[in-house]
C-alpha cells in the first residue's frame, strides 16, 4: 500500500494574445487545480516548450533557460485560435511536428463557431475545441485528455523496451529505472510518480 502524498498538479500552458482573456483562463485553470503558465503568443509558447520554431530540435538561447525548460513538464496546451503572427492552428501544427511535443494534448479556443475551422483543428490533432467565452464547466474536459496521453505515453515506454532496462532501447531516452518496482501501482499513479522524479519523461523523445 503506497500512501499518496500531495500529487503534483498538472501543468497547463495557456496561450492568448488578449490580456483579459489570459487572466480569465489562468483563473479558470487555477480554480480547477491546475498549475498555469500563460504566454501571449505562439512563438513564446514554443520558446517556453524548449523549441526554436525554425526546427524541431530543442535549442535554447541560454544555458539556464535550457535547464529550466527541461525541468518544467507541460501536461496540456490550451491556445486561442486568432492571434497575430502565429495563429493557434500554426502553433498546433508546430507542436504536432515536434517529436518531443506531439504527445502533449492541445485544446483550441475560438470566439467564432466556424465548423470548417473546428474540423481543420481536430484533423490536425487538436484534442478539443472550446468556444469562447470559456467557462468553469469547460475545465472538467481537460483532465481526461491529460490522463489519456499519459496512459498512451506509459504504454509506449513499455512497448519500446521495458522500463526496467535502461540501455537497450534505441529511441526512448527517458526510460530510466526510477520506478521499476511499481508493478502494483496503477498506471496513472505511476505516470504521476514519473513526473515528480523525472519531469523530462513527460516530453520524452520517442517517436
Amino acid at each position: 500500500m503506497a500512501a499518496v502524498a500531495t500529487e503534483t498538479p498538472f501543468h497547463v500552458l495557456a496561450v492568448d494574445d488578449s490580456l483579459p482573456d489570459r487572466k480569465l483562463i489562468e483563473r479558470l485553470l487555477k480554480t480547477s487545480s491546475f498549475q498555469v503558465t500563460t504566454v501571449d503568443s505562439g512563438s513564446k509558447a514554443l520558446e517556453f516548450l524548449g523549441i526554436h520554431h525554425d526546427s524541431s530540435t530543442p535549442i535554447s538561447v541560454q544555458e539556464d533557460q535550457l535547464i529550466y525548460n527541461q525541468e518544467v513538464a507541460v501536461n496540456l496546451i490550451i491556445t486561442d485560435y486568432c492571434m497575430p503572427g502565429m495563429t493557434g492552428y500554426d502553433l498546433l501544427k508546430k507542436i504536432k511536428e515536434s517529436s518531443s511535443l506531439r504527445d502533449i494534448p492541445v485544446v483550441i479556443m475560438s470566439s467564432e463557431n466556424i465548423p470548417s475551422r473546428i474540423n481543420r483543428c481536430l484533423e490536425e490533432g487538436a484534442d478539443e475545441f472550446f468556444l469562447k467565452p470559456v467557462r468553469l464547466s469547460d475545465m472538467s474536459k481537460l483532465k481526461p485528455h491529460i490522463l489519456k496521453s499519459r496512459c498512451k505515453e506509459h504504454y509506449n515506454q513499455q512497448s519500446d523496451g521495458k522500463i526496467d532496462e535502461s540501455s537497450s532501447t534505441p529511441t526512448n531516452s527517458s526510460s530510466s529505472s526510477s520506478s521499476s518496482s511499481d508493478n502494483s501501482n496503477s498506471r496513472k499513479r505511476k505516470a504521476e510518480g514519473d513526473a515528480e522524479i523525472l519531469p523530462k519523461a513527460n516530453r520524452s523523445r520517442h517517436s
Binding site: 483579459p20 482573456d21 480569465l24 480554480t31 468553469l136
Partner: protein, 177 residues
C-alpha cells in the same frame, strides 16, 4: 449597519446591470471565480484589465478611422479583439455593438464605422462607470466567505428572476425585481 446598506446598493446596481442587458451570464461566471478569501481580487483585476484594454483599442480605432484612407482590415481586427474580450467578461452590450461594428467594417462603410465607434465608446463608458462604482463598494461588502455566498445567492436569484422576465415579459413582474 453600513455594510448591509452598501450590500443592498451593490445588489441593486448589479441587478440593474443584468436587467438592462449591460452584462450577461459570463459576468456571473467571473463572480463565481472570485477568490475564496472574500477579497475582490479576481473580479476587480479582470474588469480593470478589460477596461484598460478596451480604452486602448477604442483609441486605436479612432486613429484608424481618421486616416484619409481607412484600413478596414485593421479596424476589423481591433473590433474583433474588443468583441472577444467583452464576451469574456460578460460585457454584453459592448459585445453587441462590436458585432454591429464588424458588419459595417465588412461593407467598408466609413461613416457607419465612425458611428459604430461612437456607440461602442458610449456603451463602454457606461459599463466602466458601473464597474468603477461596483469596485468601490465591493471591498466593504465582501468580508468573508459567508458574505460572498449570500452575495452570489442574491445575484443568482435576481438573475433567475430576470430570465423569467425575459420569457414572460409581463409588466407586473418588474415590480418584484
Amino acid at each position: 449597519m453600513a455594510a448591509a446598506a452598501l450590500r443592498e446598493q451593490l445588489n441593486a446596481l448589479l441587478s440593474s446591470m443584468y436587467a438592462s442587458g449591460l452584462v450577461d451570464d459570463q459576468f456571473q461566471q467571473l463572480q463565481m471565480l472570485q477568490d475564496d478569501g472574500g477579497t475582490p481580487g479576481f473580479v476587480a483585476e479582470v474588469v480593470t484589465l478589460f477596461c484598460d484594454d478596451a480604452d486602448r483599442i477604442i483609441s486605436e480605432l479612432a486613429a484608424l478611422l481618421e486616416q484619409p484612407v481607412v484600413d478596414f482590415d485593421k479596424v476589423d481586427a481591433y473590433v474583433h479583439q474588443l468583441k472577444g474580450s467583452s464576451a469574456s467578461v460578460g460585457a454584453q452590450k459592448v459585445k453587441f455593438t462590436c458585432m454591429q461594428f464588424r458588419e459595417l467594417c465588412q461593407h467598408k462603410n466609413r461613416d457607419g464605422c465612425i458611428m459604430a465607434l461612437t456607440l461602442v465608446r458610449n456603451e463602454f463608458y457606461d459599463l466602466r462607470n458601473k464597474f468603477q462604482t461596483m469596485l468601490q463598494v465591493v471591498p466593504y461588502v465582501l468580508k468573508g466567505p459567508f458574505d460572498f455566498q449570500v452575495f452570489t445567492g442574491i445575484v443568482k436569484m435576481e438573475h433567475m428572476l430576470l430570465k423569467l422576465k425575459r420569457i414572460a415579459c409581463p409588466c407586473f413582474l418588474l415590480k418584484f425585481v
